[in-house]
Amino acid sequence: MTISIDPQKTNNKSLQPKGWLRYFSFSLDHKVIGIQYLVCGFLFYLIGGTLASAIRIELASPMSDFMPRDVYNQVLTLHGTIMIFLWIVPVVNGAFGNYLIPFYVGARDMAFPRLNAVAFWLIPPSGLMLVASYFVEGAAQAGWTAYPPLSITTPQSGQIIWILSVLLLGGSSIFGGINFIATIIKLRRPGLKLMQLPMYCWAMLGTSLLVVLSTPVLAGTLILLSFDIIANTGFFNPVLGGNVVVYQHLFWFYSHPAVYIMVLPAFGLVSEILPVHARKPLFGYTTMVFSIMGIVVLGLVVWAHHMFTSGTPPWMRLFFTIATAFIAVPTGIKFFNWVATLWGGKISINSAMLFSCGFIINFVFGGITGVALAQVPFDIHVHDTYFVVAHFHYIVYGGTVFIIFSSIYHWFPKVTGKMLNEKFGILHFIITFIGFNLCFAPQHWLGLNGMPRRVAEYDPQFQFINQISSIGALLMAISTIPFLINIFLSVRNGKDAGDNPWNALTPEWLTSSPPPVENWEEEAPLVEEPYGYGKQFSEQK
């Protein structure tokens, strides 16, 4: 079967508004949609970050004094849901995927531009609906995992809106995933082989497979949950003979892969950034590709490590321990390859490079605690404690968010034609790095010593460590200020970037900055060696 896709036919771009107004239109241009994803995601990140600060203010003292206990649980639920479904997933997939993938495959747009626009435009309304659900009577307060029976027995209206909005956001990411797969497989410029694609394409191929395979399971699960809530069915309600552990299996079948949906694209992005600023080829391209696929396969079979204390049978615990721990192997390969990419390079120490190196260090730390958590006996003690909170923030914040910032510093000149200010950038990095580690490193100790997660009040002996953590969170909040100033100043009066300020070899840099509507004035260039540093370039000079 052949599908022929011709974006020109479906896409009449001359009718689109020009200038900044186009970002507020139903544009079909993948670059506009990418930026829409990014800006929209960032706005939600500011909301989610404000909620995180509220949580950390509450936790600066052992009593529940800053907000009522049920409000705390609502804020916590909203924070987790926003950060995952409205910030990380849309940005590392939607924003960068849309902006970069057509360039990387040598296309003028995504395979299905209209579907693409629809995928994006699902997000602002469902996100606003989610935020608004906080203000209805009885907002969702069962955590972002929404485990029944708690999610069935707490007040209902907020929980129902929560489900609806997560369903819509899941739909958006399925549309996006289908589009990425089709674009990478079908729209490749003639002559471009799969093994010549920039690594981010492989990462997005892997991620999109995970999205397409696992998100529908989440959707189905949440629909069943909503039946339990609205129609009094008994799928998960033990009072009616339902089984709550089945929900956990179904939920984690999506939500474990969701972690990889958040980090694999980041792995792809860092693979683009490091070679450029280290001026060296990406080390071990082939093993990098295979390790992505290894992570996809293993990622699908490890979900029950979230359920070691849920009464799973012993053999199951054993299997899931080994499978989980083995993800460390392909992941480790990637990290060794990145360090080898740096080794012997001519490294520019700039904001993009610093955030990427910060990512490596933080993620290695989070990965090590991850391998520890994979061991059942270890997990049993720290499951559902602050140790886990620390571990996953090392992954999602120290990993993915660091890479989002790194990518913004790297691609800002492409998108705007202006450079970002490096002094602000390095200041931003330093405050973020210190704040982040101050906030989350001490939480490992809290978890080991008896502080459960998702609590508004805690044993007073933990107050001092919690205060350090809260100070770290404050620094992280402050760190967004130099970043925002930098963006606003540079968009207006930044230095002109030229088309290719980093002398990079990947295709997006071989067109003007910002790129023209259909990406290339002429035919798309054929880039056979996207990482050919030390070869082509030294010859040209």
Partner: protein, 267 residues
């Protein structure tokens, strides 16, 4: 070249030495108060040391590269066009695989010693509600052992309290009293949502799941009072859902038990 290798070996030994020193001298865990705890801590120590070696090694490699290979002002051009190295790739696939496998086997062994791998045999004499499947918590024992054991306690969890029922004494307590050095079997049931039973000093935790009674066994080894913490989000007062476990000498326990026992029922 030889010199360089010697430095490398020295450096690696130093990283190992530092990690061993930290791993054995820095204690991140609370007191050990059950037979599970020292076994758990053994695993923790190993994981801590291996983790430190990897973390320190990787961090040093990154920071060293940033210094050593940074672009000096006058430099132009690129780094070396090194695209891969098969033997390196094989080494750093095989060694981590072996480490991961060894850790997995070791933690299996630990888990087995904690009693986690024992299958529950389905002999329902002991259990009051006959048809329900009993789920395995850590530290299983056979039903036979349980029935020989005098210390079987029924735990019910509800929003937002734990209640401890001593069937032999026909009384209910809000505090869990147990004698030191004796195996305790608990059958746990939830009345509403999911809760979890966690005693950090014992290194055990088990979810208490509505509709799924669970058995959890442990043997306390140190006299004292320890917190019992609910570790599963169970509603607004989840953070306040705590109780205490009091581990005491057998005679003290018997005094407490006899004081609470409903004697008239036994007559």
């Amino acid at each position: 070249m030889l010199n360089k290798n010697i430095y490398l070996i020295l450096l690696i030994s130093l990283v190992f030495a530092i990690s061993f020193w930290i791993g054995t001298n820095v204690n991140l865990l609370p007191a050990e108060a059950s037979i599970n705890a020292p076994i758990y801590d053994e695993l923790f120590k190993i994981l801590f040391i291996i983790g430190l070696i990897i973390f320190i090694g990787m961090t040093m490699a990154v920071i060293y590269s940033l210094f050593k290979f940074r672009k000096r002002n006058d430099q132009i051009g690129d780094g070396i066009a090194l695209e891969g190295n098969l033997s390196l790739e094989i080494i750093w696939t095989i060694i981590p695989s072996i480490i991961v496998l060894l850790i997995g086997l070791y933690s299996y062994n630990i888990y087995d010693r904690m009693g986690g791998m024992k299958e529950l045999n389905h002999n329902h004499e002991m259990i009051s509600s006959n048809s329900k499947k009993i789920w395995a918590g850590i530290s299983q024992t056979s039903d036979n052992e349980i029935s020989k054991n005098n210390l079987s306690i029924e735990v019910s969890a509800m929003q937002f309290a734990f209640l401890f029922n001593y069937p032999k004494g026909k009384f209910i307590s809000g505090e869990l009293h147990v004698p030191v050095d004796q195996k305790v079997s608990m059958k746990m049931e939830s009345k509403d949502v999911i809760h979890a039973f966690w005693v950090p000093e014992f290194r055990i935790k088990q979810d208490i799941i509505p509709g799924q009674p669970t058995v959890l066994n442990f043997t306390p080894t140190k006299v004292g009072k320890y917190p019992i913490i609910c570790a599963e989000l169970c509603g607004p007062y989840h953070g306040g859902m705590r109780a205490s476990i009091i581990v005491e000498e057998e005679s003290d326990y018997n005094d407490w038990f006899n004081k609470n026992k409903k004697t008239e029922v036994n007559l």
